[in-house]
C-alpha cells in the first residue's frame, strides 16, 4: 500500500465543478416539479416530444456521475490528508465511514420525506444520497490501494455488473428485492444501486491521484485530464456503435436521442464510460475557466462547498412549495423550469454562503457532517 504525502490546501476547481453539477441538478429538480412533461415521462424509459425537453432532461444526467466522482476524489483526499497529519490509518477511515453512514441516515430520514414536502415519513427507500454514502464506506476499504489497483477494481465492476443484472428475482420477496436493488438492480426501492456507482466513485479517487497529487500544475491537470476524457469517450462511442456488450438500449444513429440515452437506472457500461469522460472533461474546463474568469466561478464554488446542504434544502423547498402547497406543480414546461431554477438559485446561494460560514466556524459534530 502506498502512502502519499499531500499538502494542506483547498482545490477550488473541485468545489466549482461540484457547484456546476449542483446547479444542473437544481435545474433538473426544478423541471421535476414545474415541468408538465413529468406527467408522462418515465425516467426508466424516457421519451421526448421535442429537443428542448430532451436537452433539459439530459443535462441532469451528468449529476450523479459528477457527484459520485467528486465524492470519490474527496474521500481519497481526506484520507491521505489525515494520514499526512499523522492520524492513524483506521481513525482516518472511521471518520469517512461515519460520514457514509450519516448520508444513508439523511436519505432515509430527510431526503425521502422532503420530495413530498414532508407530507409523509418514508424511511424505507434508498436513493442517490445513500448510494454516495455506501460508496464512501466501500471506498474506505480500498482508498490506500495504488491507483492502478483501484482502476482495475472499478473496471472489473463495470464488466461484471451487466452479468449480475441477469439474476432474476421476485419483487414480492422483500429481502431479496432490497438486497438486489441496494447493490445491483434499479427499481422502486432504489434507483441507484451501489455497485456501478461505487465504481464511478472509485474512478473519481483514481483521478484524484492525478488532480490532487501527481499533476502539480493546472496545465498538466488540463492536458492529462483531457487525454483521459477523450480516450474514455472514444471507447464509449466504439462500444455503443458496436451495439453489443456494454449496451442495454438500442439506438438509431450516432448522436441521436437514443444514442445518448442508454440505460441510466442502472447504468450501462456505455453510460458509465461516457459520463466518466464527460466529468473529467468538465473538470478540465472548470480548471481552464478558473484561469480566465475566476470571479464568476466563485458562485459555483459557493454551492460546491456545501453540496449536501444545497441538495437537502432545495428539495425540501420544492417539495413544500410546489408539491405540498401546489404552487405551479407540473404546470409549465422548459421556460418555467428555467425560471424556477433562477429563483431557487437566488434563494439557495446566500443560504449556501451562510451555511459554509457557519460550518467553517463550528465544531458541532452534526454541523460538520452536513
Amino acid at each position: 500500500m502506498k502512502s502519499i504525502q499531500v499538502k494542506q490546501q483547498r482545490f477550488h476547481f473541485i468545489d466549482q465543478y461540484r457547484g456546476l453539477v449542483g446547479v444542473l441538478m437544481l435545474l433538473g429538480h426544478s423541471s421535476y416539479y414545474f415541468n408538465s412533461i413529468w406527467k408522462q415521462l418515465d425516467p426508466f424509459d424516457p421519451l421526448f416530444a421535442g429537443w428542448e425537453q430532451f436537452a433539459l432532461r439530459y443535462l441532469g444526467y451528468i449529476c450523479a456521475p459528477g457527484f459520485l466522482m467528486m465524492n470519490g476524489a474527496m474521500v481519497w483526499w481526506a484520507y491521505h490528508r489525515r494520514i499526512t497529519k499523522g492520524t492513524p490509518d483506521w481513525t482516518a477511515r472511521w471518520h469517512l465511514i461515519q460520514r457514509g453512514l450519516f448520508l444513508v441516515l439523511v436519505q432515509m430520514i430527510w431526503v425521502n420525506a422532503s420530495w413530498g414536502g414532508f407530507s409523509a415519513f418514508k424511511p424505507w427507500h434508498l436513493g442517490i444520497i445513500s448510494c454516495i454514502g455506501i460508496s464512501m464506506i466501500l471506498l474506505t476499504l480500498i482508498v490506500n490501494f495504488r491507483w492502478q489497483y483501484r482502476l482495475g477494481i472499478a473496471l472489473t465492476i463495470f464488466v461484471i455488473h451487466p452479468f449480475l443484472l441477469n439474476i432474476t428475482y421476485s419483487p414480492d420477496d422483500t429481502l431479496v428485492k432490497v438486497l438486489m436493488q441496494t447493490f445491483i438492480d434499479a427499481g422502486e426501492f432504489n434507483k441507484y444501486p451501489v455497485l456501478p456507482w461505487f465504481a464511478l466513485a472509485t474512478l473519481g479517487s483514481v483521478m484524484a491521484t492525478g488532480w490532487l497529487s501527481e499533476w502539480q500544475s493546472d496545465k498538466k491537470r488540463i492536458l492529462f485530464g483531457s487525454l483521459i476524457a477523450a480516450a474514455a469517450i472514444l471507447i464509449a462511442v466504439i462500444l455503443r456503435m458496436e451495439r453489443g456488450f456494454g449496451n442495454i438500449n438500442a439506438f438509431s444513429d450516432f448522436g441521436s436521442y437514443s444514442f445518448l440515452l442508454d440505460q441510466k437506472y442502472p447504468p450501462s457500461i456505455f453510460h458509465n464510460l461516457w459520463f466518466f469522460g464527460s466529468v473529467v472533461l468538465g473538470v478540465g474546463v472548470i480548471i481552464a475557466l478558473g484561469r480566465i474568469i475566476p470571479k464568476p466561478l466563485k458562485i459555483l464554488g459557493a454551492v460546491g462547498k456545501v453540496p449536501l446542504f444545497f441538495y437537502c434544502i432545495h428539495i425540501a423547498l420544492l417539495g413544500i412549495f410546489s408539491k405540498r402547497i401546489g404552487l405551479f406543480y407540473r404546470e409549465g414546461e422548459v421556460i418555467e423550469s428555467l425560471i424556477g431554477m433562477v429563483i431557487l438559485l437566488a434563494v439557495m446561494l446566500p443560504l449556501s454562503k451562510w451555511f459554509a460560514n457557519v460550518k467553517s466556524k463550528n465544531k458541532n459534530y452534526f454541523i460538520l457532517m452536513i
Binding site: V23, L24, S36, K39, Q40, D42, D45, P46, L47, F48, A49, G50, W51, E52, F54, A55, Y58, L59, R243, N249, A250, F251, S252, D253, G255, S256, Y257, S258, L260, L261, P296, I299, L338, M341, V342, L345, A346, L349
Partner: protein
Amino acid sequence: MFMTITKIMSMNICIVFIVLLISSGCSSRNETPVVEEDSTIVYTPKDSSGISAKITLCRRVSKKTGKRIGAGTVFNIKDKAKVRALVDLINVENQSYPELIFHLDWIGPNDRSFFRKGINVSPEDSVTTIRSAISISPEKRKAGRYTFRVYLFRELIAEKNFNLVSGLSRSE
C-alpha cells in the same frame, strides 16, 4: 444582490446557449408538424427516407376483411368497448437498423400517460402496421380529450387527439 442575479442570469444564458448548439443536431424530426387530412399530427423525418407514420383510431378491426370499423376521433364510453390504434408505418422496409424501437403512449385528459407499450420491430419482419388498444368502459375511462402518441427511438413521430364522450349518441 443585483450583481449576483446578473451573474446567475449570464451563467444560465451561457449554459442554455451551449446546450442549444449541441442539441440542435440530435433530433431526426422536423420541429413543425404536419396535420394530415385524417387529423394525424406527423413530425416528418428530416431525411426523406426516414420512417413516418399514419394513425387510425377505430372501434374494431374486422377479422375477415381487416377493415377498420368505426374509425374517427370521437368514441362513446360504454361497457366492453375499446379504442384501437393502428399505426401504418411508411418507409419501414428501407431501413438498415437491426431493430426499430417504437413506443405507443396513451395520454388522458389530465395529461398523464396511463398506458404505454413498447414494440421492437425488425425491418426484415415485413411489419408495416403496429397496434395498441385501450378499454373505454365507464369504470376505466372518463369523458374528455385524449392523445395517442407514437415514438420511434424515443422521438415523437406522430400523434392523434381524440375524444371520449358519455351518452347514447353514435360514434362516427
